[in-house]
Every structure is written in C-alpha cells, then in structure tokens.
C-alpha cells in the first residue's frame, strides 16, 4: 500500500512511503509521526491518499492511540462490541477476544488488565471495525520494560496472522527489528525506507544512523582506497556514489568494533592501538570506551570478556573490519 500525505498543522509534513506487512515508521519525538497517523485516521486535516477527504467515521482504519483509549466504564467484551451492530454483537465480540487470546478476560474492565492485555483488547476492538489498515501509535510505550520484547513479539505475531497491513510509529529501535518493512522519518520528511536488515546495516544518512543507534560516527574524507578520519587512514571499498576527496560520514556500531586477541597475529589492516579507558557491564555484555587514534565505543559479548578479562586502563588493539564500516554522504 502506498501512502502519500501532506499535513500543514499541527506539524508541517510531506511524506510518501510504502506499507508492506507490519511496517514500522521510526523517528524522533516531534518529527510528526503521531500527526501522520492522526491524519491517516482523519483526526487532523491532511491531504493525500489513501482515504484523503473522508471523515474519520468512513475511513477503514483501526487506530490504536498511544494510551489505547479503551472505554473505562465498559468491560473488555463491551469495548470490542462497541463498533458492532445487531443481535450477534456479543458473540462476535467474544470471538474477536478469543482471536487475540483474551476470552478468559472478557468480563474485566480495562483497569483490571495489564498493559499488554489492554493492547490486545484495543486490537480486537479495531478489528471489529473490519479495517483495511491498522495504525499503531508508539505500541511500546504502555508496556512494562521487563516484558516489552515478549509482549510486542506476541502483538506483532497476532497482527501478521490477521494478514492486515499495519503502520506502527515508534522511536524504539527494538520495534524496528520486528518489522517487515522499515521507514525512517526526519522532520516532516521520509529519510529512508526498505527491508529492516538493509536499513539497519546501511543507513543512507547520518541522521538515520543516529536514530538506529550507531554509536560511532565520524566525519571523514574519502580516499582512493578508503577514508581518512582524524588523521587515521582506514581501508575499505568505496560505495559507487563516493568519489575520492569527498566529505563523507563513517559509521560503525560498538558491537562491530573487534578486539584483537593478544596471542593471535593482528590482521593486516585497520588496526588501532590504544587504551581501554572504561568498561562497564550492560546486561550480559560489557560496554567500554577505547581511546587511541580514534575514540570508539565498544560492546563486548560475555563470551569474549570471559576469555580476555579486560580491565579499564590496560592497552588494547582493536580492528575496524572493512565490511562493518559504513559510509554515508557528508
């Protein structure tokens, strides 16, 4: 499904992108993500397709706002039955609740349900309207951080099973990893879209890289067979757009800065020598800062640290493998 929209108020935006399966639109707060969703639902004035010019009542969308807006005075099944008409509404609502795995909670009020359960009631209510497109505003925000990943995985699984295209806007990179199609939005414009693996591994611009959590980003100059960053020459194959002498951005993820093991011979290229300035546990991994010709954030998996026993203050050699170095236009 193609989406093309222009909105002037409350945020100015003009965007065009595709929705394929479970699509995540990633962007910082304030770039107009929520406004775009509300424009698609017909709740703020906007022009474009699909559904341009229709009042909200006549747009076949299932809109789940950030706070879900379940009716607090109704039970779960009454919420789901709200858009339904006729004598079979109760049975239909219960069937929809069963589809999202909540038949046992049909008689509870929203305040008696967990964040993830409320989300599924809101999904069932949206499905009752028989939409063509689901719109989800920050689906991660109402969830408990400890169970967020699992609850989201279940939600995305349910939506995929329904076979409905969905557009979820978020600033949470965790959600981006679950998408079928990833769209990255800047201030009022689309910066990049594509398959998540493509976008995550090769952001088209430095703004996208920042949003996707690239910890190490440097301005650099393209050379014939690599780049020069702060006086350091690194070898890599230039992408077709880059010409020697051009200003570019170099990005590398902390997890893809590789520590050279002392007992092994160092690789032939892109080795940097310096000091491990700090090292702290982060979950089961370890995050540290390497200071040498460049200052780099590094992220060591547990199995590496258990073998190397690195400590802050010690000397360290790291290698920046060409395949993990990513260039973007300057």
């Amino acid at each position: 499904m193609e989406v093309h929209y222009r909105v002037r108020w409350p945020v100015r935006l003009e965007v065009g992108f595709q929705v394929r399966g479970f699509t995540v639109l990633l962007g910082k707060s304030g770039v107009g993500k929520t406004t775009l969703l509300r424009a698609l639902a017909g709740l703020v004035p906007g022009e474009g397709r699909p559904y341009g010019g229709l009042p909200p009542e006549r747009r076949p969308v299932g809109y789940l706002p950030q706070d879900l807006a379940l009716f607090p005075h109704m039970t779960a099944w009454e919420n789901v039955a709200f858009p339904l008409k006729g004598p079979g509404r109760r049975a239909k609502a219960l069937a929809l609740l069963a589809r999202v795995g909540l038949e046992a909670h049909a008689h509870k009020r929203p305040s008696q349900l967990s964040g993830g359960q409320r989300q599924r009631v809101a999904l069932a209510r949206a499905l009752a309207r028989e939409p063509e497109l689901l719109l989800l505003d920050e689906p991660t925000s109402a969830l408990d951080p400890l169970t967020k990943g699992q609850v989201l995985g279940e939600l995305v699984g349910l939506i995929r099973r329904e076979g409905l295209p969905a557009l979820a806007v978020s600033h949470d990179p965790l959600l981006a990893g679950m998408a079928d199609w990833l769209v990255v939005m800047g201030q009022g414009v689309i910066l990049q879209e594509g398959l998540p693996a493509e976008v995550l591994s090769s952001p088209a611009r430095v703004e996208v890289a920042r949003l996707l959590g690239y910890e190490n980003l440097f301005p650099a100059q393209a050379l014939a067979e690599g780049v020069e960053v702060a006086g350091v020459r690194l070898r890599l194959a230039l992408p077709p757009w880059a010409r020697p002498g051009e200003r570019v951005w170099l990005g590398v993820r902390a997890a893809e800065v590789i520590v050279v093991r002392p007992e092994r011979p160092p690789p032939p290229e892109n080795v940097l020598e310096g000091v491990l300035e700090s090292l702290h546990p982060e979950g089961l991994a370890y995050r540290g800062v390497f200071r040498g010709p460049l200052e780099l954030q590094i992220l060591l998996p547990r199995h590496i640290q258990e073998r190397l026993h690195l400590r802050a203050g010690q000397g360290l050699r790291v290698v920046l493998k060409p395949r993990y170095l990513h260039l973007m236009p300057g």
Binding site: A41, L43, E57, Y63, A69, F71, P72, H73, F82, P83
Partner: protein, 225 residues
C-alpha cells in the same frame, strides 16, 4: 410541625425548582458542550453574558425580568402572555438565575472527558448518537446530575429574583424563602424557626447527594488513565 401555608410554599418552591432544573438540563448540555469544545466569534462575550447572573445583584436581574415579562413588556408584545407574578415567570427567572452554576458544572464534566476516547469512537465508524449514549453520557452523568442538583438547591434558596418577578402571593407565587421572610416580618419567630429547620434539612440532604456523586465521578475518572 410548620403550618399548612408552609407546605404550600415549599411545594411551590419544589415545583419551580424541578421544572427549572429540567429546563437547565435540556438547555445546559448543548450550551456547555459548545462552550467546552467549539470556537466561535464573540465567545468571550457570550460567556460573560451567561455568567452575568453570578455577579449581578438578584434584585437587578429580577427588575429587568419584571420589565421584560410585565404588562406592556416585550414578552407580552411578542407572545401576548404576561408572565410577571405567575408560575411561568418564576420558572424562567430560576432558569436564568441558576444557568451559570449549571453551565460551569456541566462544562467541567465535559472537559474531564478524555478527548482520545471521543476520537477513537469516531474512528470506529459509530454514529454520533451512539457515541453520546454509550460513551459520553455514561462517563459524564454523575457530573451532570451533581450540577443539576446544585441548580435545584440554588433555586430553592433564591429570594431576590423571585420576589421581584413573582411577588409574594400566597398559594400562587409565594416561594418558601419568601414565606419565611414574611414570617419574620410579622415577628412569628417560632413558626419561622420550624420552617427554617425543614429547609436546612432539605438543603443538607441535597448537598450530601452532590458530594456522593462527585466521589463516584472521581472514581470513574481515575480509571480512565
């Protein structure tokens, strides 16, 4: 026990208050809704005019109403009816006098509605009347009812406006507050004390009901979050 004339006056007051509260409910809901959510030119002026009875001395309001409703007044010229010193005049005066209280209470009830609920209801393709019946009214009724009860109690206690518009014709326009005043003027303090005590109990009962409703309403609202 108070004398029969007291019960006649109390009955009249209760009738006027019931009728005025019903009109306020009908008139107040759309007015308060548009004051809460719609923007239109001259809105501050409209709000000021509607709130005027709150600050105006009741006798001033009563005086203008008397001119408006009295013989040869504009109301008679338009409709051919004279409502001064009649039941209808008392009801109209009570509606105008209690309108600001009711509007303020209703508007607060509407503004406490979570706007997301109304938006989502629209996206679910449900007709407006069903949104009112199943979402708006169930969530705001305690607020509407407490506002209406306050207007009712306020009407029972009004004095200046009804005295100007209705006078004090026993059995016809003598409301209970005026009856009490007349007793005191006649130095009949024992009867006045009995009448005052009954009024005190009625007013207290209404306020307790309002407080209970407000508590219930807060409990509703806290589950919205």
């Amino acid at each position: 026990m108070p004398e029969p004339q007291f019960w006649t006056a109390l009955r009249l007051s209760l009738e006027v208050a019931s009728l005025a509260s019903s009109f306020l409910l009908l008139l107040g809901i759309p007015l308060a809704w548009s004051l809460a959510f719609h923007r239109f030119p001259g809105k501050p002026l409209v709000e000021a005019v509607l709130l005027l009875p709150l600050v105006l001395p009741p006798t001033v309001l009563g005086f203008y109403l008397l001119l408006f409703l009295g013989p040869e007044g504009p109301w008679q010229r338009i409709t051919g009816l004279t409502w001064a010193f009649r039941f209808e005049g008392l009801v109209l005066a009570s509606v105008l006098f209690s309108l600001p209280f009711t509007l303020t209470a209703y508007r607060e009830a509407f503004l406490a509605l979570d706007p997301n609920l109304l938006e989502v209801a629209r996206t679910l393709g449900v007709p407006r009347w069903r949104v009112w019946r199943h979402v708006i009214l169930p969530l705001v009724w305690p607020g509407l009812l407490s506002g209406t009860l306050l207007a009712f109690a306020h009407t029972l206690g009004e004095f200046g406006v009804v005295l100007m518009v209705g006078g004090s014709i026993p059995g016809k326009t003598q409301m209970v507050s005026i009856y009490l005043y007349d007793l005191v003027q006649a130095l009949r303090f024992a009867e006045a004390a009995r009448a005052a005590f009954v009024l005190l109990l009625v007013s207290l009962a209404i306020l307790v009901a309002v407080r209970l409703l407000e508590r219930r309403w807060r409990a509703w609202r806290s589950t919205t979050g």
